[in-house]
């Protein structure tokens, strides 16, 4: 199995920072969306809609670097960067980052770091959605919600993660393969 070299470590960190920067370029969209949905008590929905972009660093790092732990490290580092840049979630980003990363890592673990295609991406989206959702049941008190609303939240989350962490990641991967920087 491949080991971590200095180049991979730098690469995963730069990718994580890039994803953070792109996400924060989006910052106003998030706030506006959250503010618009808040009066109806739908603020968590804003979270769910955009979560996909936020957790993209994981699958992307996993696809580009292909070393066990890449997805986890990618997300975790994204969280560290965010904390030092004065992100609003403070200490808990470190925990959420690890869990989000581990969620997508599970998808790669289940396929033994051998297959890098649609199946892995779908699996990884699913595991990310489940792991992060369980965490939010506790952290954000989601467990208290009525069941239909809870289901809605989960479906929106899964869809968002699948679109960004799955479909978009695959399209990016295709481009990288064509540029000969990644193996198919």
């Amino acid at each position: 199995m491949k080991r971590w070299h200095i180049r991979d470590i730098i690469l995963v960190t730069i990718i994580a920072i890039f994803m953070g920067v792109i996400f924060w370029a989006l910052g106003p969209v998030y706030t506006i969306l959250a503010a618009a949905l808040a009066p109806m008590g739908l603020q968590p929905l804003a979270n769910e809609l955009l979560l996909g972009i936020w957790v993209m660093a994981g699958p992307l790092a996993g696809f580009v670097i292909r070393i066990p732990g890449a997805a986890t490290l990618g997300e975790l580092l994204g969280a560290v960067v965010e904390m030092f840049l004065g992100g609003i979630w403070g200490a808990s980003t470190l925990i959420s980052g690890t869990l989000q990363g581990f969620g997508s890592e599970l998808g790669f673990i289940f396929t033994g770091y051998k297959r890098y295609g649609w199946f892995t991406l779908f699996l990884s989206s699913l595991t990310t959605a489940i792991v992060t959702f369980v965490w939010d049941l506790f952290r954000n008190g989601y467990a208290a919600y009525h069941l239909p609303f809870l289901l809605l939240l989960f479906c929106v989350r899964l869809l968002s993660i699948f679109i960004f962490g799955g479909v978009l990641t695959k399209l990016i991967n295709n481009l990288l393969v064509r540029a000969h920087v990644l193996k198919d």
């Binding site: 481009l175 064509r178 540029a179 000969h180 920087v181």
Partner: protein
């Protein structure tokens, strides 16, 4: 102290049909300054990386005083051979100059109590003690190269390799750095191998030029060397046609009390500035004076003080998408410009949105021929050499044919023949399409025919140079 010998070196990039270096042999003697030149894509960078051990090779026919590189322990390598890279900003690990020096010495396991003294001595030797506590990211390219050199001095490496270290360095700084290098050769017996296209300033130090062509290395005779240098003598670098602007010119971009700053450092004190349509304007100025910052302001990528108008309309009032098509920028880094994967795709994208009436497929093929890039349609852009990338980048932006085309160091890393070709193309297209060209360049050779107006940025002020018409 080490003499570098290369015996029958052949190297082929993975998945490539032809070797870049083909049974190449050569000697770089200790205490000597060796200058390496050759066409774009000839393999200079490849050779230097191989000597530095940065491209892994199983059995390297490269010896340092008879010892192969692989026989030198990894921890001793840095004190044997060190490299100064072309891109100044991506060669540091730490945040400040002092921390980077410490980092390098810690790697060599220098005892903690000696580190501070060696840092200071190295900074002193290069003459940049005042930069000690500055942040590396916010230094100008020239200053970053000086720091990189100071680190090599501190590490006391025997062989120093430099890959186009002056590509984005202003002429005065270039001379200072060159003197430091020669001092390292003479006083400390270092072996220096330097690759460069721009041969100005080397005459007095170098008697034999090494040329890399067709995978082979040839040492030119003294006469042939002198002939090559002749194209870069100071007389050839003068601008003879520039004039001061007159009333007949139309203003296309106008700055009113235009000022530029980074943080609390003022780069341009507020002043009025006119840039003229259908002419070629050259902007020069020292490293870090703010030329690129000015271009970024002009394309709305950076902040500025005062007001900027394009054809009498405030540029912030024009829709971003429209404005981007009127005023285009050829970035300092070639790869920043590319959006696709292969050369053909990149050109096709430009043709789709650009001036396709003028740039017909036949014309484009002809231009590619002129630039020595024919037959590379399917090559991945990112595997081209730096000079080849620069030429494709220029072509892409020319095909877009924006009314105003800003060019940031368009000649960086180009060989002499390419510069001639680029100049001819720029001149023809500018006249045929009546474009406005504004360019930043440190390297002046070949520019004389193209340039009409000359702006210098010095002491935080932009002034037109030349005689009045």
């Amino acid at each position: 102290m080490a003499t570098v010998t290369v015996q029958s070196l052949t190297y082929t990039y993975p998945k490539q049909a032809h070797p870049v270096l083909d049974h190449l042999s050569g000697t770089f003697p200790t205490g000597k300054f060796s200058l390496l030149t050759g066409v774009s894509g000839g393999g200079k960078s490849t050779l230097l990386k191989l000597i530095a051990g940065l491209i892994p090779m199983s059995a390297t026919p490269i010896n340092f005083d008879g010892h192969p590189l692989s026989a030198i322990t990894p921890t001793q390598r840095a004190s044997t051979v060190a490299m100064l890279f072309q891109e100044p900003s991506t060669q540091f690990t730490m945040d400040t100059v002092e921390n980077e020096l410490r980092f390098a010495l810690e790697n060599q396991q220098v005892p903690a109590e000696e580190i501070a003294d060696r840092c200071d001595a190295a900074l002193n030797f290069i003459g940049i003690s005042d930069l000690k506590f500055r942040k590396l990211m916010f230094l100008s390219g020239g200053e970053q190269q000086k720091v990189a050199l100071a680190i090599i001095v501190a590490m006391d490496s025997d062989v120093i390799l430099l890959d186009e270290p002056f590509a984005s360095i202003d002429p005065p700084t270039r001379l200072i750095l060159l003197e430091k290098l020669v001092a390292l050769c003479n006083d400390r017996g270092k072996t220096i191998i330097l690759a460069d296209h721009d041969l100005s300033g080397y005459q007095q130090w170098v008697d034999h030029l090494a040329v890399l062509a067709d995978g082979q290395l040839t040492l030119l005779s003294t006469a042939a060397t002198r002939e090559r240098f002749a194209a870069f003598t100071p007389q050839r670098l003068q601008l003879t046609h520039v004039q001061l602007p007159n009333d007949q010119l139309t203003v296309c971009l106008q700055g009113t009390q235009l000022g530029l700053a980074h943080g609390d450092r003022q780069l341009l004190t507020p002043q009025d500035l006119s840039l003229y349509a259908h002419r070629t304007t050259l902007i020069t100025g020292p490293n870090g004076s703010g030329k690129s910052t000015l271009f970024k302001a002009l394309v709305r990528l950076g902040r500025y003080q005062g007001q900027l108008t394009y054809r009498q309309t405030d540029i912030t009032k024009i829709r971003k998408r429209r404005y981007a098509r009127q005023v285009g920028l050829m970035f300092q880094a070639a790869s920043a410009q590319f959006l696709n994967v292969t050369v053909a795709e990149e050109l096709a994208l430009s043709q789709k949105y650009g001036d396709h009436a003028y740039f017909t497929p036949t014309r484009i093929q002809q231009l590619l021929q002129q630039l020595d890039l024919a037959g590379r349609d399917e090559q991945v852009l990112y595997s081209l050499s730096s000079g080849q990338q620069k030429k494709i980048q220029l072509l892409c932006m020319l095909i877009m044919a924006p009314d105003v085309l800003l060019l940031d160091e368009p000649l960086k890393g180009l060989d002499y023949a390419s510069i001639q070709a680029v100049m001819t193309i720029l001149k023809t297209v500018q006249q045929d399409l009546n474009l406005t060209l504004i360019l930043i360049s440190h390297q002046l050779s070949g520019l004389d025919d193209l340039v009409d107006l000359h702006l210098t940025l010095a002491d935080r002020h932009l002034t037109y140079q030349g005689v009045s018409a």
